[in-house]
Symmetry: C2
Subunit: 364 residues, 2 copies
């Protein structure tokens, strides 16, 4: 069966997961709850996801033999991160369905392609321009205005690979500092809040969105999520329509997250798409405890060819990330009535490293 | 460290679990959520719990070498079932803390010892008498009256090892049919409902009870649990006090379940203790989705020396067991809005085999 083939798993079948971090771990745990097995592929021998599966493959993503053996062990393959090398995806796709189809990565791995894709769907984003030299940066600044954000086209996350360009900055120096050959300049968006939609799409084309989530970042890393977002029902409906349109246009199977800015305006707030994450997403972690079915289970259901759930939210939910040394407070969190603590089984805390999270649900 | 030593685990430490069924599996999953590793010991190579741990020991409970190696791999040991051979417990206790202390099994493995223990605490049970021959059965019938229930003192579960004795039955034949040398005869209780209390006790002596659950059996096997039970707050408080008294008297560390009958009376309903289960319990499965922290996590917290949670219930909860061929309906259950489906990763369904369960939460 190739990636184009429809797949329907039976209980007891095995899902292959590329990547052994906390997302892979929580995907494997969700598979287990549904009576499915998981096998994790990761080059890191200390992968937290290895702890929760019987079979793990510790090998490089370029290891063809390991990839082939891994594919032969599993019924379907998915991934916890968007930067899968295309050769890895090709080797696997030739042997087993890989879902979501790695073709979507070409669009969402590259910020310029992503913005073009969203714009063609008639969905608003911040103004942007392609930049591949200091000269082009100057031109782009002329078009977009300042302040603006210069971002590498690929491999950025948690604020890495981006810099704010302000009035008076030297474009030559800014360009040299980013150390890239391809970037985009985005207009700085004076947003009033950041929200995200975590959406699942099944192979049959059904899309189910979780309630829109409001996100607060600290040092470019997600710190708090609140569900539902404090926005009007109308705006929330618009956000869900955007996520559905994107998932459908990508012919996506699995869970994706769309991050959006809520921008004030004289006719009321409007939405700009910031980013698409082709995977389960930190802003959906609240669903583990705050909804009848989590984003991780929705992803597993989608790639297993099983019906999507129609999750019910248990109340007003706040998710707090435990980042770096925050983890040292786990004992305190264990004692908070009604709090649910998740620790990811990672080793030593490092600054910026996501070590766990806490969910609190209040009946609304 | 021996079983009398206090233990406090760190994230990343390993919990040893004796028994590889669905309870062991859900304990291992709960440990994973807290960043703890689990290692499962089971003689059955098809143990569902093996699927969710990196390290499993497949060996007989009498295999001394395997037990010693297992103990050396883990920081603390617990179990998913009460019929641990005492020699197994002894070998392990000499090497690592075993929690709850296997000493409690002497009391709760034996229905007669259990009833005596409960009675000494001033807690009511059905009238009962020790029976070890057909002649003693006749005497017991004279004391207790009929109908009554004859139960083996040990190793009964899900209605196995028990028979109802009615007016006109031949005591000789009834005794021969039970094929045991030690039993108890219990008065038949005209109860109006069956309830249970799932309670956790920490090493420091704190007891936290989940909301009292109401249970419906079919063919002696739990079919439905409802939380909260449809009883008065006063009766629920009495039930919790009973569970707390039992846990404390046993110097228990971990989760236990106390099953009770609600018996009508002219001064209102009263409670009789039916049975103590020294482990996580089917009637507590609703806590996985219906409360902020589950019975499995409470047990892990208790044996890890971590603070107990003070769980918040998300609404009115119904748990439905998928028994035997019920599992074939999993596709139907996956489509029920708000339902959470748990499949245990067992092989073929057999009549009476617990294959999974479904939780439904309604905001109360």
């Amino acid at each position: 069966m190739t990636s184009s083939g429809r797949v329907t798993l039976k209980p007891g079948d095995t899902i292959g997961i590329l990547g052994g971090g906390q997302l892979g771990r929580m995907l494997a745990l969700a598979a287990a709850r549904l009576g499915l097995k998981a096998q994790v592929f990761s080059p890191d021998p200390d992968s937290p996801a290895f702890d929760v599966v019987q079979n793990a493959t510790c090998a490089e993503y370029a290891d063809v033999e390991a990839l082939e053996l891994f594919a032969s062990d599993v019924a379907v393959i998915t991934y916890e991160f968007e930067n899968i090398p295309s050769s890895t995806a090709m080797i696997l796709s030739a042997r087993r369905p890989v879902l979501p189809d790695p073709g979507v990565l070409e669009t969402v791995q590259d910020r310029f392609a992503e913005k073009n894709f969203v714009t063609k769907l008639g969905i608003a984003t911040a103004r942007y321009a392609d930049v591949s030299s200091a000269q082009e940066l100057k031109t782009a600044i002329g078009q977009i205005g300042l302040p603006a954000v210069l971002k590498t086209r690929r491999f950025g996350y948690d604020g890495k690979g981006q810099v704010v360009v302000r009035e008076g900055d030297d474009p030559e120096a800014v360009w040299a500092d980013l150390e890239t050959r391809s970037a985009i300049l985005e207009a700085f968006v004076p947003y009033e809040r950041e929200i995200s939609v975590v959406a699942a799409r099944s192979a049959s084309g059904e899309v189910v969105c979780f309630d829109v989530t409001e996100n607060e970042h600290r040092d470019h890393i997600l710190k708090f999520s609140h569900a539902p977002a404090r926005i009007s029902d109308e705006l929330a409906a618009q956000a869900r329509v955007i996520a559905e349109k994107i998932a459908t246009a990508l012919d996506y199977v699995g869970v994706l997250a769309v991050e959006l800015f809520v921008v004030p305006g004289k006719d009321g707030p409007s939405l700009l798409v910031n980013e698409i994450a082709p995977r389960v997403h930190n802003s959906g972690h609240w669903t583990l405890d705050g909804a009848s079915v989590s984003q991780f289970e929705q992803h597993i259901r989608a790639i297993a060819g099983w019906p999507l759930a129609h999750p019910v939210r248990h109340g007003d939910v706040t998710m707090t990330n435990l980042i770096g040394d925050d983890i040292l407070d786990y004992g305190k969190w264990l004692g908070v009535p009604g709090a649910t603590v998740h620790l990811y089984g990672k080793g030593a805390p490092r600054p910026g490293r996501k070590m766990g999270h806490v969910t609190e649900v209040k009946q609304s």
